[in-house]
């Protein structure tokens, strides 16, 4: 088996490059780089399942949400908990863990939730799978929003230490990339891709379709949970931040980049984040080449939505064509 290490090195180098570039800019601009790196973690997490299985999931923000809730609730200092979350369950109310542990908890909660949800749901495919994962998102959103014994309920998180900076977000994105690469090069990843290409033939070759999908779903859920943990240490999250808009933007990044490859996921996340940051600046007015660009607020989603529809219509396999990064440029040219 040839390892094709460039398929790991290229996306990792892209992420490292973005992080290094982030160290050279002012603090206000750094926010955009951190957001972009978190987006990479999130999109790669989604890619591990959607890209390898070919099954659509609208439910991944549920795992981001439970990861964020786990890490967030456990990170608030104990003496502040009685003020901010007066009705937490006992164990949650009098335990505080440090940063790294809270991120591990986030990934763990995401993993467990994804496996529990995946075990029954992964028997479905096509539209039924899409709607069922949507249902999971609705249920998770609904419960986290109203059950204030496990989190802030309708409020936002507060007093969570803001530990997610450039370093941690870059490490998070790199972990996601390494895990995704290791998984897709493994026997499990290859089996799942075989299922994606031809379910009937893969099953005939002895591949357990449901079992492979659950593996990918759980792994993907763990990475999504980690992304959630990093998010809650970055901004004061509320349930609305991990719901439909984030589902849309994450799917858009994956589709625009190309859902078929890790390279596509990373390129999509970084490209759309860059565009999104530019538009966010433009919404507050920026000068380019002497002219001032001043967009009304809310134009970001319009541009991203338009771009996503355009890519789907003109190039449905994404800007990378769903291919992995390859050094054989000349070979491709000749074709």
């Amino acid at each position: 088996m040839t390892a094709h290490l460039e398929r790991l090195v290229a996306p990792a180098a892209l992420v490292a490059g973005a992080a290094l570039l982030g160290t050279t800019v002012a603090r206000e601009t750094q926010i955009y780089f951190i957001t972009a790196l978190l987006a990479v973690t999130l999109v790669v997490a989604l890619y591990v399942f959607v890209g390898n299985s070919g099954v659509l999931s609208f439910g991944h923000m549920s795992f981001v949400a439970v990861g964020a809730w786990g890490a967030g609730v456990l990170s608030v200092p104990v003496d502040e908990k009685s003020l901010i979350f007066p009705s937490l369950y006992g164990f949650l109310g009098d335990t505080t863990v440090d940063n790294v542990v809270s991120l591990a908890v986030a990934a763990g909660v995401g993993l467990v939730y994804a496996v529990v949800v995946g075990l029954p749901l992964m028997r479905l495919s096509g539209l039924a799978a899409g709607i069922a994962t949507f249902a999971v998102l609705e249920i998770t959103h609904n419960i986290l929003r109203y059950w204030d014994r496990i989190g802030p309920g309708t409020n936002s998180f507060s007093s969570v230490p803001e530990t997610t900076g450039l370093l941690q977000s870059a490490i998070g994105a790199l972990i996601a990339i390494v895990v995704a690469f290791a998984y897709q090069s493994s026997r499990f990843g290859r089996q799942l891709r075989a299922v994606r290409e031809d379910p009937a033939a893969a099953r005939a070759a002895g591949i357990g379709v449901v079992r492979q999908r659950v593996w990918a779903f759980g792994l993907s859920g763990a990475l999504a949970g980690l992304a959630g943990g990093l998010y809650v240490h970055f901004i004061p999250l509320s349930t609305e931040d991990v719901y439909l808009d984030l589902t849309f933007i994450t799917l858009a990044m994956l589709v625009i980049g190309g859902a078929g490859s890790l390279w596509g996921a990373v390129v999509g996340a970084l490209a759309v984040s860059a565009l999104d940051s530019f538009l966010a600046e433009a919404e507050s007015g920026i000068g380019i080449a002497g002219a001032t660009l001043d967009l009304p607020s809310g134009s970001r989603l319009i541009v991203v939505g338009f771009l996503m529809a355009l890519v789907l219509i003109l190039r449905p396999s994404g800007i990378t064509g769903g291919r992995e990064f390859s050094l054989a440029w000349t070979g491709r040219m000749r074709r």
Binding site: L121, A135, Y146, F248, I302, G305
Partner: protein, 301 residues
């Protein structure tokens, strides 16, 4: 009939039927387009939202109710036609998943346009508010709008059945729904069949906009979105492969939500979506091809 589950009375049942009727209309609109294009239109709720904003604007301008309805219908039909030409047509060769994601993008696009145009607070649409007054039959108060919703849904269903069963274009639509390429080979005009289905779904979206604005008059950019998600779930649960099963699915999820909304104890009513979507998952696991679908037409894996 006392205690927390006392609400299963005639009042709740009739309100639930009214909700089911509105959802059934949306289900027909989504199911018709799926029938000819194999496309799940996630942006259907934004058509409803656009129609609702047309109604809100016409009541802001003090137009008479009929003019508001005409404006609503024209806005929704124009948007539906544009969606057909600009989005559905280029996507026709793609897989259902790609088409679903694309309409997801269109939905967010339209919602953001509405956000910029009208702001997040929304506008009231009040010209038909008189339909909210109740009529008392026995000891049950029925809002006029509930009766209107049930009658409108029934009329549309009958008209649609007549169209599908008794006219040439209806025959063509049914043929296209079963096997599109064979139908084309046999002389069915694809563009006309698709345009008809899409425009009928637009008329239904306008009707839903009118009914929903009477029930909840404040129109926001997110108007119709949560209903679309519920109806999509209902349509898939019912079975997307036939219009009848999709419609029944839409009606059932509205009816069941209405009943559960009445039956849940007051302190727990905020968890209604969880209960409904929990049921959706359970039903999908038992019957992935749909409750009302014919057996043996689903995917192999």
């Amino acid at each position: 009939m006392n205690g927390p589950i006392a609400a299963l009375n005639a009042q709740t049942v009739i309100d639930a039927i009214g909700l089911g009727a509105v959802y059934a209309l949306m289900a027909i609109g989504i199911g018709l387009v799926f029938g000819v294009l194999r496309l799940v239109n996630f942006a259907y709720g934004q058509l409803v939202m656009a129609g609702a904003f047309a109604l809100a604007l016409s009541s802001e301008w003090d137009w008479p109710a009929w003019a508001g309805i005409v404006l609503c219908l024209s806005v929704v039909l124009a948007l539906t036609g544009a969606m057909n030409v600009l989005v559905f047509r280029p996507l026709r060769a793609q897989s259902p998943a790609v088409m679903l994601v694309a309409t997801f993008a269109v939905a967010f696009l339209l919602q953001s346009v509405a956000l910029i145009w009208f702001g997040s607070l929304g506008k009231p649409a009040t010209s038909l508010a008189s339909l909210n007054r109740p009529v008392t039959i026995g000891d049950v108060d029925i809002r006029k709008i509930t009766i209107v919703a049930i009658v409108v849904a029934a009329l549309f269903l009958v008209a649609l059945v007549l169209l599908l069963e008794r006219t040439t274009i209806g025959l063509h639509m049914r043929a296209a729904a079963i096997d599109f390429s064979t139908a084309r080979l046999l002389g069915v005009r694809a563009e006309r069949v698709i345009a008809t289905a899409v425009l009928i779904s637009g008329v239904l979206a306008a009707a839903v906009a009118i009914l929903l604005t009477v029930q909840s008059p404040i129109v926001t950019p997110g108007f119709g979105l949560s209903q679309t998600i519920v109806v999509l779930a209902g349509v898939v649960v019912g079975g997307m492969n036939r219009l009848v099963s999709a419609t029944l699915g839409g009606f059932s999820i509205g009816f069941v939500s209405g009943l559960l909304g009445g039956a849940l104890p007051t302190g727990q009513s905020q968890y209604l979506p969880s209960v409904v979507f929990g049921l959706v998952i359970i039903v999908l696991l038992i019957r992935p091809d749909g409750v009302f679908a014919r057996a043996g037409v689903g995917e192999r894996v």
